[in-house]
Symmetry: C2
Subunit: 347 residues, 2 copies
């Protein structure tokens, strides 16, 4: 299968993004929701910022009721575990080393982007005190529904915000309670109901698998059904979750999803869901369609990661925008028919 990575990759890097405050540093820009609006390609990017660290202190930004605060953690304190670059484990609980907000980048050609000077959506409530992450955008009748991870000590939830113009946004609250992530709302009703892929995490049993839910109004979700599970022996052994908003094809809903193995390598795969009953899988790829290979995919804040939150379709071509190594944003074109040819109905 042909993967046409853009020669302009990476398209957006941390140095392209002004920090939201002078005392913060942008360390990652990745995992962007994608939309077409007003003749432009819009990326709603996850921008991860941290305090100015030094050899003795790690400074973690956290939203509190009074606003964004910086908490300091002593590197020499043996009670704090800094071994994962994304988190700090302390006796009081887990914190993230960065706080993410959502920022827009705009482009007329889909390759060259201009980053907005200020955040589009910023943490402003208890459920977002550790940040907002990994937005997906579903357009229905001219309204753009933004669904994103809201992370806090209460858990990881998925919240909804809406916009008509990517200037004014309205937050609607939490649509999937903890623990959930990777929600992808389909762009039209199926059988009179809205449909969302989601990825709950269960403590009792069950891997991080993909589920599907139905609902009447985009805020409320039920009729949950198990959709697709990890494959313990393969590239998708540790977790699977929705990626881009599902693409309607003649043969079914094509979902380009992500999966990770036990070594933490994130690849993209594809699965085809029934047009009328999307909780039924028609075919699934045995192998990934896209693996981290370029240097900006294999090297960075979290190496060996390709992770998509959105794609644009033009005929048989799909332009996939993806976070690479949790550090930068890149793009690649693929053929939808070539992706479909890789799928196997027997899996």
């Amino acid at each position: 299968m042909n993967i046409d990575r853009y020669p302009e990759n990476p398209l957006v890097t941390p140095t392209d993004v002004p920090p939201s405050r002078e005392d913060l540093e942008v360390v990652c820009v990745f995992n962007a929701g994608v939309a077409r609006y007003g003749g432009e390609v819009i990326l709603l990017m996850r921008v991860a910022e941290r305090g100015t660290n030094d050899s003795s202190v790690v400074r973690v930004p956290v939203f509190e009721s009074s606003g964004l605060c910086i908490r300091e953690f002593d590197r020499s304190d043996p009670r704090n575990d800094f071994s994962d670059p994304r988190i700090i484990k302390t006796p009081e609980g887990i914190l993230l080393t960065t706080i993410s907000h959502l920022r827009i980048a705009r482009s007329t050609d889909g390759r060259h982007f201009t980053v907005d000077p200020k955040p589009a959506l910023f943490p402003d409530r208890e459920s977002e005190s550790f940040g907002q992450e990994d937005a997906r955008i579903t357009e229905i009748d001219g309204i753009y529904y933004i669904h994103y991870k809201s992370v806090s000590p209460l858990g990881i939830c998925v919240s909804l915000a809406v916009t008509r113009d990517f200037e004014a946004f309205e937050k609607k609250g939490i649509i999937f309670g903890p623990e959930n992530t990777d929600v992808c709302i389909l762009p039209e009703k199926v059988g009179g109901r809205y449909v969302a892929l989601h990825r709950p995490v269960s403590g009792f049993a069950g891997s991080p698998n993909m589920w599907i839910a139905y609902g009447p109004d985009l805020m409320s979700w039920g009729d949950h059904r198990f959709l697709m599970e990890v494959n313990r022996q393969s590239w998708d052994s540790e977790r699977v979750g929705g990626g881009a908003i599902p693409i309607k094809t003649d043969g079914g809903w094509l979902e380009i999803y992500h999966a990770a193995d036990f070594k933490g390598r994130y690849c993209l795969g594809a699965v085809l869901l029934d047009l009328d009953e999307p909780h039924k899988i028609i075919a699934r790829g045995k192998e990934p369609i896209f693996v981290p290979e370029a240097v900006y995919e294999t090297t960075g804040f979290v190496p060996n990661v390709v992770f998509t939150c959105g794609a644009l379709v033009d005929g048989d071509s799909v332009s996939i925008y993806y976070g690479a190594a949790d550090t930068v944003i890149a793009g690649a074109d693929m053929s939808i028919s070539e992706i479909l040819e890789t799928l196997d109905a027997r899996l």
Copy 2:
């Protein structure tokens, strides 16, 4: 505060319940949803059954597509962990030692119950392969909405079934995806929406805390809000979850909930929620209102447990039906006004 345990306690014991199959043994009957119907008190009880164990083999019933199957586990196999009487940890995953279904007991006086000879609701699908547990019943306009835990290797979910007569039941599917439990749907709409307490479990962070959700149709739930958390230093240190269906009082919705401490002792507590905005707590009790003390509460399959799924109100009196030591069903009367007097608005 006065607690009038019934002199008839325990009201229902495992020997009162015919097994659903000849090769199964009823080991526990507990945690019953409660309703008034046709002049009777209905208990929709959790009946836990196991295979006939012996000194060398543990026989675990599991629902599979072909029906209920018995899986055998060798007690001498060091790869299997039998230390918790409720579960077996195997290299392939966790199983429950029993499978639960929902069975009706009927009474004209609320003290003396006759157990139906057959299950009312039995596991019949993948999401219930480890059983159905801990039903709550909410009556709205003559329809009884039964919400219960559906347990399987996919995780712990909450499903909905409806009945008008406690003879015919219709399963509606999963209303809260994994991991969730202790859902209590309020008996009327508030501000035009249905309301449910729920208890998600988050892997990333957050204790097993109580949340609240709103929805338009009893199947679909959203606008999730964090409601109430554990108290690390007290009787409710390990987990909190909804108990009885909330009781409408002049001052707010009175919720009699359960909490466990780190030693696994389950007590009942009380909290008062705002009538119009039940995501707001008006007052909460500092101490439990009901602790395991009677011998049938302190001794059994899981000692030191009182756990309610339902109560009946008659004026100022509330009759609480509860599972005792995860083994039997008991009842006790309390005064609503006395419960309210124990609550503290400052907590």
